[in-house]
Amino acid sequence: MADLLTATPATASAAPPPRARDRRRARRNTLIGWSFILPNFLGFAVLTLVPVLAAFALSFMEWDSYNPPEWVGLDNFERLLNDESTKIALRNTAYYALGHVPLTMLAALGLALLLNRKIAGVGFFRAAAFFPYITSMVAVAIVWNMLFNPEFGPVNQFLQFLGVDSPPGWTTSTTWAMPAVILTSVWRDMGYYMVLFLAGLQAIPVEQYEAAKVDGASTWQRFRAVTLPGLRPVTFLVLVLLTVQSFKVFDLIVVMTDGGPGRATLVLSQQIYRRGIVEGEFGYASAISFVLFLLVLVFTLVQFWINNRRERR
């Protein structure tokens, strides 16, 4: 059966057809190819591609819903540098990313290592770790807001039980609101990245571990010499995905703290929403989105570069 199937293209190429027929076939293929892609592409082009390009152009314009757009060059970016709340949003987004990325990564890797074994009931444990990820942000934010309740919440009751005399005020305190948001998001996201790490761990050949064992490597040495290098592609992917994800955080913050208290958890996405959609300053909001996009791009490229350099070594 398999032989029969592979034989077909070979016989077809044995007798080269004239050029005209070749061209006709190429044109036919183009038409067929496009006919498959078109239904999706129409929606994609109009609603993603055009807006992406427009966002770039808009960030150099001044435009609200009433007046026609006007080219203002770099004015929006200059304004951005002097806008206190945008600067705060930028700093808070960086703070969030610095907490969310490494903590989620460690938690996900830890869970994956713990759950990468063939034992009875491992499916249940994996499902439990993954489940928070598909729970809605709104429900997650509401529940965690209650868990973090400074006076009666289980988190602080637990801390007091451990002997912490004056536990933090979490979402009611300007210093602790961001850590509360970060902890919540780590809890929600770690299961997703655990799945990626698990897939990565299962792709490492067992023989490598066997060989290391024969060489007398300890568990820690095997982790350093076999597991970590084997996981590098996944680690890189996780790092990129996590960075992108943390720069666009929105839902969780809107529901959990709405940027507060004060502006302690105001982030870039929120600032774009407020300036652009609530206040209708399309040009300025697009400039902020452009900065957001640039940040994501630069971080991704830097990670690509570091990853490539390491791989070459």
């Binding site: 199937l5 077909t8 293209p9 183009t30 190819g33 496009w34 006919s35 498959f36 892609i37 239904p39 999706n40 929606g43 994609f44 109009v46 055009v50 807006p51 992406v52 427009a54 966002a55 808009l58 869970l111 713990l114 759950l115 444990f125 994996r126 499902a127 439990a128 489940f131 598909i134 809605s136 942000m137 709104v138 429900a139 509401i142 529940v143 209650m146 009666f152 919440g153 289980p154 997703y192 799945v195 990626l196 897939a199 792709a203 996944v234 992917l237 666009k248 929105f250 839902d251 809107v254 529901v255 996405s269 774009i272 929403y273 652009g276 959609i277 989105s289 957001l292 791009l297 991704t300």
Partner: protein
Amino acid sequence: MTTADTAAAPRARGPLALARRAVLYAVLALAALAILVPFLWMVSASLKRNNDVFTIPIQWIPQDFQWGNFTEIWTRVPLDTYLGNTVFLSLVITFLQVLTGSFAAYGFAKVRFRGRDTLFMLYIATIAVPWQAYMIPQYIMMQKAELTDTFLSLILIQAFGAFGVFLMRQYYLTIPDELCEAARVDGLSEYGIWARIMLPLSKPALASLALLTFVNTWNDYMGPFIYLTSNDLWTIQLGLRSFVGQYDADYAMMMTGSVLSVLPIMIIFLLGQRHFIQGIASSGMKG
């Protein structure tokens, strides 16, 4: 050799291996409990009297179960409208995404034509662009078309995502080309091959994509938050959020609403758990 080795090991070590296994399970149980505590809290609080939600020490099991919370909430907020809207949006968006996504994926994976790979790169590139970076022009376009505050706006925005195309293409690449070639020889058109061969063969990937899209749409907050202003169009997430704003001290009811919003997703997850995990693992791995 390897299997014999590992199989023999526990027997050889006896009690030590047993103890290690017990420790492992204890660690796992503790971790699972820590992860699931917020859900336990949610369910427990949803069945309490409001005054009993915040107590010192915490009552994990309600003193007397307030099942009435689950009937009362329907009279306080139009949950049926919210749930209906969410089901409608999730189903339509999922259907369109799976249909156009798998259709386009066939073009990208199995038809050779000039410009195909460049076009695909364009798709991939936009996956990396955060939605926040282009939501403003998108919103302006919707406003000009007078589509804001309609379901159509959300459907248009979310049904043609590049992710679905990407996920399906990755799966189609694993299906051997010879199969399509044989079908062509048998006189099947390309559309016939897609419908009669690729679709049945890609059931696992279709299930993964459908489940992930459905859950994402169900849970989406930012999209409906920006586009849907009329109360009768709201999704369950918007309804839940506004309920919390209105009754901000009614903790038990807040948890009842949260349980009701999570329950459908939980059922779907329990039914299709395998497909979720596979979809995520494969979309990530081959990326």
